[in-house]
Structure formats: C-alpha cells, structure tokens
C-alpha cells in the first residue's frame, strides 16, 4: 500500500506519451495550408489581369511586378532601399525597445520609480506618434534622426506597457514561495519574475513590431531620400504602378518576417506553456 504512488506514476506515463504524440508536428500538406489563400488570390489576380478585367494602370499583373522586382534587384536599387529601411527599423526598434524594456522592468519592480515616471509616460502615450511628423521634420530635417526618433517613439509604448504589466502580474504566490526558499534578488528576477512576465512582453513585442513598420512607412513616404517608402513615392511621380505595388508587397513581406521571428522566439522560450507548445 505504501508503494501505491510510484505505481500510479508508471501507469500514467503511456497516457502522457500518447498525448504528446498527438500534438506532434504537422504533416507537410498541413504546413502548406496557410499559403493556400494567398496563392489563390495571386492566381485570380494574374488571370484577371491577363483577361483584361484589371486595368494595368490601376494594378499591374503579378508577373509584371515580379519583372519590376527583378529589374530593380539587378540594378541594385531594391536591395539598397530594403537595406536602408531595414536598418532604420532595427535601430529605431532597438533604441525604443531597450528603453521600454528598461523602464517597464524598473517601474514594474519599484513603486517609487512607477510613481515618478509612469503618469508622464501615460500622458505622452496619448500623442499619436505620426502627429509629431511636422515637429520632427523641423527638428531633424528629413535626416536619419527623424526616422529613428519616430520609430523609437512608436515602439516604446506597447513594449513599455506590456513589460510593466507582465512584471506586475507575476503570481505573488510564486514570489512568496521563492522568497521562502531564500532566493537572492537576482535569482528571483531571473527564475521567477522575468519568465513570468515573458508572455506579456511578447505580446508587447509583436505589437511594437507592427507599429515599427507603420511608423517607418509613413515617415519614409513623407520625408525621405532613400528607403522603400521613398522608392514608392518616387515611382508614383513617374506613374510606375508596378514599383509602387512592389514596395507595398516588400513592406508586407518584411512585416511578416518580423512577426514570424517574434513567434519563433515566443515558441522557443515559452515551450513550458501548453498554449505555445508547437501545434
């Protein structure tokens, strides 16, 4: 009778094994499923253009956009502009993200720091960052500084709020448990608070990435001399619809890439959570 518990554990093992098997990797046809709808749209678009239902001045056929992509890639214009936009996005994100993460943690952990800075952040947060464009142009011209400022500003708030919220919502029972085992402040942060806040931080991260691209597109379209947004504005002046559409598609692809990266990170770091376990 005393050995009842180990036997129970053994009998439960096959159940767990079968459960993990059933949620194992998707088969290849299933992995292609998310691409089905975009492929169908592309097909209809191409057919519509070739059969003359869609006028090329409004929307060129996908094949023509592909031609434009090839032309601009060979001339080096497209890769150079993508590189410029990508660099702007990353640097704005790093500056805004680092500040947001730091303040989010600080205000989450310290009531004093929260009292000092949080209400200021909440006030500034209500200014739409794109409303600052005229002022930012006056300050920085159409320099890199303007884009960096606007992107960092846009990225800051979603990441700050979610980091702060994540730290504050770590289960106090877990913190009490860790304290009762004499964990140092650093261990408490590393083993309890940070992992506990991570799901919320990721929500902020994905939101911030969306804002990052949005801000960059607008600021590049309005005031820039290089980058994808500039390429689109420039092409519009010469009525190059294919290049305009290409620029939009490049933005979509970059946005998707950023989101997929965030999701991959999310799955790898939050593997403990059944919600994020690979389905």
């Amino acid at each position: 009778m005393t050995d009842l518990s180990p036997t129970l554990a053994k009998s439960e093992r096959p159940l767990v094994a079968s459960l993990t098997r059933s949620v194992s990797r998707l088969s290849p046809p299933e992995a292609l499923l998310p691409w089905l709808v975009p492929a169908i749209i592309l097909l209809i678009w191409q057919l519509g253009s070739k059969l003359g239902f869609i006028r090329p001045e409004f929307l060129p056929a996908p094949s023509e956009i592909f031609d434009a992509a090839r032309r601009l890639t060979l001339s080096g214009e497209l890769p150079a502009n993508i590189a410029v936009s990508f660099k702007r996005a990353i640097s704005g994100f790093l500056v805004g993200g680092a500040l947001a993460f730091a303040f989010g943690l600080l205000n989450g952990l310290s009531r004093l720091s929260e009292k000092l800075t949080d209400s200021t952040f909440q006030m500034v947060r209500n200014i739409p960052n794109l409303a600052l464009i005229p002022l930012v142009i006056l300050w920085f011209g159409i320099d890199e500084g303007a884009k960096l400022f606007l992107t960092a500003f846009g990225v800051f708030f979603p990441l700050y709020i979610n980091t702060f919220h994540g730290v504050r919502n770590v289960d106090p029972q877990l913190i009490e448990m860790a304290r009762s085992y004499g964990l140092s402040s650093w261990s408490l942060f590393r083993k309890v608070i940070l992992p506990g806040a991570l799901p919320s931080i990721f929500v902020g991260l994905r939101y911030a990435l969306g804002i990052m691209w949005l801000t960059l597109i607008v600021s590049e379209t309005i005031a820039a001399s290089s980058g994808i947004g500039y390429m689109a504005t420039h092409a519009r002046e010469f009525m190059l619809v294919d290049v305009v559409v290409l620029a939009i598609l490049v933005y979509a692809a970059l946005g998707k890439l950023a989101d997929s990266t965030a999701r991959l990170l999310e799955r790898r770091t939050l593997g403990w959570n059944p919600v994020y376990r690979k389905v």
Partner: protein, 274 residues
C-alpha cells in the same frame, strides 16, 4: 496541557517516530535533524482585527502536529509566523533545543497550491528548494533523490503542466524536503485533492516523515486527516490553543477502526461545540 510551557520537551509523544531526536543535532547535508519548536504569547493583528491572542505551543523534535480550527481562527497565520512569511506583533518563536531564533532553512513550507514554476522542469523546481549555490551536478543528484523519494524520479525532465494535481503536490513536497529541513510546515497541502489522491498523499507524507524524521506542523480542516497523521491534535480558537489532544493510535493507523472512529467523533464534537 495548555499553559505548561516551562517544561520544554516534557510532553512525551505517544508514538515516538523512529528517527526523531530528543536533542537537535547540527544541521548537516542530508542528515535530517528534527527541530523542536516553541511559541510563547504569540500575537498578530491585521488592522484592528486580532488574529492571534497570545498563542502558546510547545513541539518536541520529530513530532507530527495537526492544527485544526474553524476558518479564520488564526491557524494559517500561526503557520506563516512559524515559517517566517509574516512577522509577529508580539511574542517569541524559539527554534531548536536552546530556543534560538529561526535560521534560513530551518522551516520549509508546503502550501495549499503546489506553487511550482511552470517554466522550469520538474527537477529544476525541486532544485529551487536547495536555495543558492552548490555545484550543478550535486544539486541535480540531490533533487533527483528527493523526487525518487516521492515516487516521481521518472518525471524529472517534464514540465509541471503535464502532471496531475497530486503529482504536482508531490513535487512540491520533494522541493520542501530536498534541503532536509528541521521543520516542515504544511498549510492544508491536500485540501485541493480528490479523496483517493488525498489518502495516497497522506500515506506518502507519513512515510517520508518516518524516513526523514523532521518535525511536522500541518494545518488542516479535515479531522480524519488529523487523526490519521498526527501525534498531537491542536485546536486553535480565537487565536489561542484550546485543545491539545495526544493521539495514542499505533501506526500504520487503521482507518475505520473503533478507536480511530471514536477519536474522530470526539474531536469533531469538540470542534462543533467550541
């Protein structure tokens, strides 16, 4: 029985546990040393509401104490003071034979909820119980030994989320015991479990207590559970100990035996009339 606080250690448990020590020895690695414990005139209030009103209790090293009482009587508060999770307003808590102050690692707590960190593997959760420092290999070995003691050695590298409620509580028990504490404080640890799992856990708890010989103080609202496990049943009413009843039943205890049932009925009647 209550009020006799001067005769430290004079209360003789009816069934001295096999490994219980009369004198506390130096706490060393892996060598369990049951700590005696005493509370004198313990007071604690939350706001204007007094919860503990001069509570006195004497516990011999290695004893298994069950603390019962109506909800709000102060039994959980007492356990939190004992474990150092809260500070008393007045009174004295004495640990060890010389009645010294509490030292880190003297008391480990098992809560009603398992409180496992969901982002750490089962074994890493148990390693939390070892606190800071120590070689990674030794830590893992000790944690694995503790897991094996609760019958979960095979689940060491899994996430807590795949375990059942009873298994999670067993991991919490391994975490509490991995550092071989002198006192284990249990705050209704089996309250959330179903009846069958609960009886299994009671047997497991009794077995590890007999093997490792720590002092156990368990808050419970379940009278049969108190009768099944305790050397002494303590009733707390209005922040004071109002009943201190030794349990003279041989172990392993036969549930449903006449003596068992009679004691259960007696305690229950006392609890209801009080």
């Amino acid at each position: 029985m209550f009020g006799t606080l001067s005769d430290w250690g004079a209360i003789v448990a009816p069934n001295p546990p096999s490994l219980a020590q009369q004198e506390p020895s130096e706490p060393g690695e892996g060598t369990p040393s049951a700590l005696p414990f005493a509370a004198y005139g313990l007071r604690k209030a939350f706001g204007d509401k007094p919860v503990l009103n001069g509570l006195n209790l004497d516990v011999r090293g290695g004893e298994f104490i069950a603390i019962i009482g109506k909800s709000g009587c102060g039994k959980s508060t007492f356990l939190r003071l004992l474990a150092g999770l809260d500070e008393a307003d007045a009174g004295l808590l004495a640990y060890g034979g010389e009645g010294r102050a509490r030292q880190p690692g003297d008391v480990r707590v098992m809560f009603q909820e398992p409180r496992l960190l969901p982002w750490l593997s089962v074994i890493a959760n148990v390693e939390i119980g070892l606190g800071e420092g120590g070689e990674a290999k030794t830590r893992r070995e000790r944690a694995l030994a503790a897991l094996e003691a609760v019958g979960l050695g095979a689940r060491a590298d899994e996430w807590p989320s795949v375990l059942s409620g009873g298994q999670k509580q067993r991991v919490a028990l391994a975490r509490a015991l991995v550092s071989a504490p002198g006192i284990l404080a249990l705050d209704e640890p089996l309250g959330a479990l179903d009846a069958l799992t609960r009886i299994e856990m009671q047997q497991l708890l009794e077995r590890v207590w007999q093997d490792q010989g720590f002092t156990a103080l368990m808050v419970t609202h379940d009278v049969p559970e108190a009768v099944a496990l305790a050397d002494r049943i303590i009733l707390i009413e209005d922040g004071r100990v109002t009943l201190d009843r030794p349990v003279h039943l041989p172990r392993p205890r036969q549930r449903g035996s006449t003596a068992y049932g009679a004691l259960e009925a007696e305690i229950l009647a006392r609890l209801l009339t009080g």
